[in-house]
């Protein structure tokens, strides 16, 4: 068993050695392949980063909007205040603001300029209002659910929510996410084809070697291995190149973005790839490289038989 394992490891070490020496033997074409993969992967990664940053920044905005609850006029002041306290304790509620009928009237007089006219009325026409601020992290669906709950309260005459702009923003971001996914799929396919084609050329270039190895008793797995390794390696290095491209672009944009943010009175900064996202990027590169070479090797190795 140990002997078998050691032979297995030896064969893999050999394959890795062969792979590296072959990639180094044609440094220019290797670099070009890695560059193409790098740029291809950098596109969806960059777009993902843009969306992620927009989402992060928009989360800082009052994403939940606010809900205005107009209470029935016959609700006494004390009951309204208790209701406000109760709502403040609800889930998905950040805080509430209670405006009594008198406060509302005073505010209205101050802001509308109809003060004199209002004095003519023998009673206050305005309801008391509870302004509910949903928690900032709430999704639009959660805010809508909250709105439904609030409407169901007896003392509430009506509830209003201006969610439109929040919804539009979230819809745009969702669209952006979808675009990133589609783009990632398409460009992933491009990486697959790039690696597949590189490996195909490598196989054709080494036809004689493959035939000789088959004549010497080399199994398909043995012959395939260096090609798979080179696919994985090129995918991995391509992903690393993509990471570098992104880092470079961010470094170039950092100054202008900080300036723009300063003009808006914000200190928002673009965040680079997190270690987790970097891991995904490298993993995706390696996986695409492996898959591309696996498909290509499977197709072309079978056709090469000694004669």
């Amino acid at each position: 068993m140990i002997r078998f394992l050691r032979a297995y490891l030896r064969r893999h070490a050999y394959a890795l050695r062969v792979t590296v020496s072959q990639l180094l033997r044609a440094p220019l074409s290797t670099l070009m392949t890695i560059g193409v993969i790098g740029i291809t992967l950098a596109l969806p990664t960059g777009l993902y980063l843009l969306i992620a940053n927009l989402e992060r920044m928009s989360a800082g905005l009052d994403a939940g909007g606010q809900i205005s609850l107009f209470l029935k006029r016959d609700v006494p002041e004390s009951a309204a205040q208790r209701l406000a306290e109760r709502i403040a304790r609800m889930r998905a509620v950040e805080r509430v603001e209670y405006i009594s009928r008198e406060q509302a009237l005073a505010e209205f007089k101050r802001l509308s300029g109809f003060g004199e006219a209002l004095n003519l009325l023998d009673r206050n026409p305005l309801p008391s209002v509870i302004t509910v601020y949903p928690t900032r992290t709430s999704r639009p669906e959660a805010v809508e659910a909250l709105l439904r709950d609030l409407r169901a309260i007896d003392a509430v005459e009506s509830a209003q929510l201006d969610l439109d702009w929040v919804r539009r923003l979230h819809a745009l971001l969702a669209l952006g996410e979808r675009v990133v996914l589609i783009l990632a799929g398409l460009l992933g396919l491009a990486v697959l084809l790039t690696v597949g084609n590189t490996v195909r050329l490598a196989i054709l270039n080494r036809r004689e070697e493959i035939e000789v190895m088959k004549l010497m008793g080399g199994t398909n797995a043995f012959i395939r291995r260096p090609f798979l390794y080179s696919g994985v390696l090129q995918g991995l290095l391509g992903a690393a190149a993509a990471w570098l491209v992104i880092a470079l672009v961010l470094a170039l944009l950092e100054g202008p973005i900080a300036e723009l943010a300063a003009l808006y009175g914000s200190d928002a900064r673009i965040q680079g790839l997190s270690p987790g996202a970097t891991g995904y990027l490298l993993g995706a590169g390696a996986l695409l490289g492996w898959l591309g070479s696996r498909i290509s090797v499977g197709r072309h190795l079978r056709s090469i038989e000694p004669n």
């Binding site: 070697e209 000789v212 190895m213 088959k214 008793g217 080399g218 199994t219 398909n220």
Partner: protein, 227 residues
């Protein structure tokens, strides 16, 4: 070691390359296969090394039926065979040492063991001092010796050679023949396809003569002829 019974080989859309071949080669024998170009010598060697499969009949090699060999078993089947080619088929992107080591690397031997065996094989063919060179700088005779070292480094029980001296002059050819005779004296079964009659006479071994794909003559060596 090798037993052919009623073996036919027809290439798609062509004539019969081999017709109704019947013969037996015992373990430890040395046999020359001869005949004009196109007589079927190369096809015969290809059947023995499972590069081609018989169209009809049964070809047993080393106890295995070549016609029924599963593709995934072929590599292991070939690890007990050494093959020498007329055009050497060396790889010029690596040293003499790495060329000879190939059958051992393929089989997954330990590097230390590989080193010992490769040097023993190169010593045997008299090229130990050239292990670091690229085979492209070697002469034809030397390249063929590298090819032979590669064919015997994994100690196969069967050694096949297709026109091994086809590109070499007389003196070099005799040197190569001596190597084959020596391997045979150490128990290796040797099958050589050649049209070099001088070489066959000099070796004084059994000879199979093919003509248009048929076995027309099977000498059991000079000793039998004398009787």
């Amino acid at each position: 070691m090798i037993e052919f019974s009623h073996v036919f080989k027809r290439y798609p859309g062509e004539y019969d390359a081999l017709k109704d071949l019947n013969f037996k080669i015992e373990r430890g024998e040395m046999v020359f296969v001869t005949g004009h170009s196109g007589a079927g010598k190369t096809t015969l060697l290809k059947l023995i090394s499972a590069i081609e499969r018989p169209t009809r009949g049964q070809a047993l090699v080393n106890g295995r039926n070549v016609g029924r060999l599963a593709p995934r078993r072929v590599p292991y089947f070939r690890r007990d065979i050494g093959i020498v080619f007329q055009n050497y088929r060396l790889l010029f992107d690596r040293s003499v040492y790495d060329n000879v080591a190939l059958p051992l690397v393929v089989a997954g031997l330990e590097p230390r063991e590989i080193g010992k065996r490769v040097r023993a094989a190169l010593d045997k063919v008299g090229l130990l001092s050239k292990e670091r060179l690229n085979p492209i700088v070697l002469s034809g005779g030397e390249q063929q010796r590298v090819g032979i070292a590669r064919a015997i480094v994994h100690r196969p029980s069967l050694l096949l050679a297709d026109e091994p001296t086809g590109n070499l002059d007389i003196v070099l050819s005799e040197g190569i023949l001596d190597l084959f005779l020596d391997f045979n004296a150490h128990g290796v079964t040797v099958v050589i396809a050649t049209h070099d009659q001088r070489l066959i006479r000099r070796a004084g071994k059994r000879m199979l003569v093919l003509k248009h794909g048929e076995l027309v003559h099977d000498s059991l060596g000079p000793a039998d002829i004398l009787q």
